[in-house]
């Protein structure tokens, strides 16, 4: 292929999903843009934003890829009612990863800000944000990933092509919205 043909091919393949992901991210940006109060009351909250969003993407993107591979190999039945043991293990592992890594982000983020003498909310407040966001976004994204991948597969779509886009488009919105919920809970509970 010539350079031009490769470039056109690559552009066409990536454009649609990048537009979708960018549009969803602007939507989550609107939620973040309205969080001035929470960001001021919970110092250090903004430090966690990229880490928590990236964790969602890697953990639930990888769950989707794993389920897609399992469907292709016939290891997994696309059954929404009673998920089989493999699906339960994959979901439990993803939730565990997602929640524990979020908590690690809160602890390490707190430690770094402390060590650098930067203003930071009590560790309990950042942990509440990380755990609430970790559990809620994990539940939401697990549901979205399983339903899309299974329903798509049953309708003859390639689950590999669905898993990534679904997580990139919903991950940021769900991630920021659940961080906001966690921050409000921490403020309401008086741990800040």
């Amino acid at each position: 292929m010539t350079i031009r043909a490769v470039a056109e091919d690559a552009y066409r393949e990536a454009f649609g999903i990048l537009v979708l992901s960018a549009a969803a991210s602007v939507f989550s940006g609107v939620v973040l843009g309205g969080m001035e109060r929470e960001l001021a009351v919970v110092p250090g909250l903004l430090t966690l934003v990229p880490a928590l969003l990236a964790t969602r993407g890697s953990v639930y993107g990888s769950l989707g890829a794993r389920l897609a591979t399992g469907l292709h190999q016939g290891l997994v039945e696309p059954e929404l009612g009673v998920p089989d043991e493999r699906v339960q293990s994959a979901v439990a592992a993803a939730m565990l990863n997602g929640v524990v890594v979020s908590a690690v982000a809160a602890v390490v983020g707190f430690g770094i800000r402390r060590a650098l003498d930067l203003p930071v909310a009590p560790l309990a407040a950042l942990l509440v944000v990380a755990l609430v966001a970790g559990v809620l976004s994990g539940a939401g994204l697990t549901l979205v990933v399983i339903v899309t991948v299974f329903v798509g597969f049953r309708r003859g779509l390639n689950p590999d092509a669905l898993a990534g886009p679904v997580v990139t488009t919903t991950g940021d919105v769900v991630g920021i919205a659940t961080m906001l919920a966690g921050a409000r809970l921490a403020i309401a509970a008086g741990v800040v």
């Binding site: 990048l18 880490a51 990236a54």
Partner: protein, 185 residues
């Protein structure tokens, strides 16, 4: 390891990398938090943040994934004149030039709808466009270097390159964006 479906097996295989990437992302978060004053004074810029990170990370990961595939197929040579390399790099620039100004425009319109006119439309689009151009350079450099390093170290580029490039582009997305904001506002 798609056959390994135990909770312990999955967590053992993925947890260490997730923690390492989280620590790198926290660096981006610290940089972001360091500019909290300007970002909350102009919430349009705060609105732009997830879009900038998402597009920067996605550009890097799409390019890395395509270079990894070309590498597996044996159609990739690490030379500036290589079709796969130059073509994918050109597509990355074209995507950056199309998408970043659109993200800027969308963020401005969303804030305008909420009654926020603190920054001019042209300023926001220009900040997004300049950040995007610089980030395209960064994405090409990082994706090429990481694929080349995986090739030299005989690692499977699919396992290593995509998460590393996505994370690096996320963080540099924040750094470059705030640099441009600092120069423009």
């Amino acid at each position: 390891m798609p056959e390994e479906w135990s909770v312990r097996g999955i967590v053992a295989a993925t947890f260490p990398l997730l923690v390492a990437l989280t620590v790198v992302e926290l660096w981006g978060g610290l940089v972001l938090d360091g500019s909290r004053a300007v970002l909350t004074r102009y919430p349009t810029l705060l609105t732009l943040v997830p879009g900038i990170i998402a597009v920067a990370g996605n550009l890097g990961s799409v390019l890395a994934s395509r270079l990894s595939t070309a590498f597996h197929l044996g159609t990739l040579a690490f030379e500036p004149t290589d079709d796969a390399l130059a073509g994918n790099a050109a597509a990355t620039f074209a995507l950056a030039v199309t998408l970043f100004p659109a993200v800027g425009a969308a963020a401005w319109l969303a804030r305008y709808a909420l009654g926020d006119v603190a920054l001019a439309f042209a300023t926001v689009v220009l900040i997004a466009a300049v950040s995007g151009l610089l980030l395209a350079v960064v994405a090409v450099a990082i994706a090429t270097t990481a694929t080349y390093a995986a090739f030299q170290l005989q690692l499977d580029p699919d396992d290593v390159v995509v998460p590393v490039v996505t994370t690096t582009c996320d963080v540099l997305g924040v750094v470059v964006f705030l640099g441009v904001v600092g120069a423009a506002v």
